[in-house]
């Protein structure tokens, strides 16, 4: 090998070593960034992923709520919120005519959203820039036309964010049954009513999408990604009928206004199944604008207007309670409809306070049917005190469901209350008063269930409002459930006859429906401590009495123009009953 060749070899070796050294340095540096710093220190892997990976939450559509005929009571709409990007705007306009561009942008925004003043928009931009806000919402729930206008304008530093809203097409219709949904940036939650009770089923499960994105932030569908699809909320079908509900709500509102009452409640149950056909309260609210009703009260100002008064607001049932006293007497066999007492208008008891009839009216020798016809407090107290005693009376209060939640709405029911032996505050006067509906607090639904039990041959059904649940892993139809037998079929039949006579000959004559037999009892309750003319007027009963289809309870709180169950509540009861018979094509059972 000559000298030239050796030099060349050395040069080659030098270059080789140099390149090798360089490669080693690069490898070491690569190891440092790729291995040592990828998951610790600068956490480069995560930073890189944040640059090109996007994690989206996929909203689960909230389930719809239908009435028994398939009409939608609650649905969803998507509307856009408008956001501006103050910081991005200042980044996009570092040196140029910032003020001029801002005015142009604000002018365009104001043109699309005239309800937002130019001053408001200017303030939003300037405040946002000063505070370093990347995004600031300037408009909520804009109309579809406004959304389209803004999309067409393609304004820089302005974007639309879709948002799902719960809407109730009927407005106030059945609002106290449905409740409402609070909606904010973090999600939504059902409040009150069905929306709260079935919130977990209705809201479904949100999904997620993790995917690489392009420069505009659109997910690259073909790139590797991870999608967890959203599970839509379940659809609920209620037992209520919108048409009946509307008729009842309208009639109730008219009655409350005409009688200058404080509030009112109506409950209609299907006698055979226990399904709620209608449940109305007044005053009520519009769930589409629930915030406007935050300070309004319902049910004798006992609670907010959002509560369903039929299951939440308790009252003293008054004379409608006499049906319970008679039920206990008939079922135990201790009385018959023809059992008599001497009613002198007032009755004194050795161990309890004196009980008197309305205006101390005396009826002389009076049958049990007569007690219901005259709505005689004396007769009811006599049965409870002298015939049934505590041992036979209180078990029936328990069996009828007083003092217990019915189970129709978990956590939203008031179970009511009454004193009974064992309670240190109980006295025999409680027994005599409870016999005619004082000193006992019940919800309208509990009182309606008493009459449902009588109409259904003594069998109390479990009341329910949700007929079926479809979706979100559920596919269930509610089957009517017998809760318990409260009284015998014979006792129920005897009592039906007594209530029929009470309706035709007693105080419920204004509730009569031509062509139909009714079994009903009026009630006029006063509250201790307030004026005697501040009453709770009510009627409870069922129609047709010969083959009961519906139980109707009407309750008006403190009506001023007419204060008795017979004059204030009975006409409304009759109107609703007649409309029901026509709507459901129930054939008359009496000659027209």
């Amino acid at each position: 090998m000559n000298v030239e060749m050796q030099r060349a070899r050395r040069r080659q070796m030098f270059i080789f070593l140099l390149v090798t050294f360089g490669m080693l340095v690069l490898l070491a540096r690569l190891y440092y960034w790729q291995v040592l710093q990828s998951h610790s220190g600068y956490n480069l892997a995560q930073q890189a992923n944040q640059e090109h990976l996007q994690n989206q939450i996929l909203d689960a559509p909230r389930g719809l709520i239908y009435d028994s005929a398939g009409r939608i009571l609650a649905s969803n709409i998507i509307r856009d919120d408008v956001y501006i990007e103050p910081v991005q705007f200042s980044v996009d306009h570092p040196n140029g005519d910032t003020q001029g561009d801002l005015q142009t942008l604000i002018g365009a925004l104001h043109g699309a959203l005239p309800s937002i003043s130019i001053d408001t928009l200017q303030k939003a931009f300037h405040d946002g820039m000063a505070q370093g806000l990347w995004a600031e919402r300037v408009a909520v729930r804009i109309t579809p036309a406004q959304s389209q206008t803004l999309r067409n304008l393609q304004l820089s530093d302005v974007f639309l964010q879709p948002h799902t809203w719960r809407v109730y097409p009927g407005g106030t219709l059945a609002s106290q049954i449905l409740g409402f949904v609070t909606q904010n940036d973090t999600g939504n939650a059902g409040m009150y009513g069905i929306e709260k009770q079935y919130n977990s089923l209705l809201q479904g499960t949100p999904g997620s999408l993790t995917a690489e994105t392009d420069l505009q932030g659109n997910p690259l569908t073909l790139a590797p990604g991870n999608e967890q699809p959203a599970v839509s909320g379940a659809n609920l079908t209620l037992t209520i009928d919108s048409n009946v509900q509307y008729m009842v709500e309208t009639a109730l509102a008219n009655a409350v206004k005409q009688l200058d009452a404080m509030s009112g409640t109506v409950v209609i149950l299907n006698v055979r199944t226990g399904a709620v056909v209608s449940m109305a309260g007044y005053p009520t609210f519009d769930p589409n604008q629930y915030g406007q009703y935050a300070n309004q009260l319902g049910c004798e100002n006992q609670a907010g207007v959002y509560f369903n008064p039929a299951i939440y607001c308790v009252y003293e049932p008054g004379s409608t309670m006499k049906a319970v006293t008679m039920s206990a007497g008939l079922d135990t066999g201790l009385i018959t409809p023809d059992t008599t007492l001497d009613d002198q208008g007032c009755m004194s008891f050795s161990d309890a306070a004196q009980v008197c009839n309305w205006e101390d009216l005396a009826y002389g020798t009076e049958s049990m049917t007569g007690v219901l016809i005259h709505s005689a407090n004396v007769g009811a107290a006599y049965v409870a005190h002298n015939i049934l005693h505590t041992t036979h009376y209180y078990p029936y209060l328990q069996k009828f469901g007083f003092g217990q939640a019915t189970g129709i709405a978990d956590g939203q029911e008031n179970p009511g209350s009454y004193r009974q032996p064992g309670n240190p505050l109980w006295s025999v006067s409680d027994l005599t008063r409870q016999a005619f509906g004082e000193a006992i607090y019940a919800t309208p639904l509990q009182v309606a269930l008493v009459y449902q039990t009588i109409a259904n041959g003594g069998m109390q059904m479990q009341p329910y409002m949700v007929a079926s649940i479809q979706g979100n892993g559920h596919n269930a139809n509610t089957q009517p459930v017998v809760k318990r037998r409260v009284i015998s079929a014979n006792a129920a039949q005897l009592l039906t006859g007594m209530l029929e006579q009470a309706a035709t000959k007693g105080f419920a004559q204004l509730a009569q429906v031509p062509g139909y037999s009714i079994a009903a009892k009026t009630g006029t309750a006063t509250t201790q401590g307030i004026s005697a003319d501040q009453t709770v007027a009510s009627v409870a009963g069922f129609i047709p009495a010969s083959n009961p289809k519906f139980v109707i309870l009407v309750k008006l709180d403190r009506p001023q123009k007419a204060i008795y169950g017979s004059t204030a509540a009975a006409p409304l009861w009759g109107y609703i009953a007649q409309q029901l018979m026509w709507y459901y094509n129930v054939p008359p059972d009496l000659p027209l």
Partner: protein, 125 residues
Amino acid sequence: MRVSSRPILAARRRRQLHPFFFRMGPVGLCICSVLLISLMAVLYLSQLGQAVTANQQIQTLHRQQATLAREDQDLVQQIAQEQSPVYIAAHAKAMGLIPADPKTVIVLVISHLKPIPSYSQHLQP
């Protein structure tokens, strides 16, 4: 001098075993390699282009789907509103209709009348 034919046969066999391009020189081999790599690059870019186009189409379809879903919900809402008795009653009143006076209603009782199933299905008390 006698020449053996064996080496010639051996060379012929070697030529048969090795295809002709193995005999290409370095220049030819480079050109072929460049062409091959170019072809693969073209194929790759073509596939990538198709993927990007498909992705854009999917994005467009997603946007259309979102728009249609929104329109669908709006239409459902519109139907729900127009089916609502509140809406119907308001329009009936606007048209001059008034609630029937119960006294003027005549109830006809037709014994053994079979109800119309589709009409009365949800009207079972």
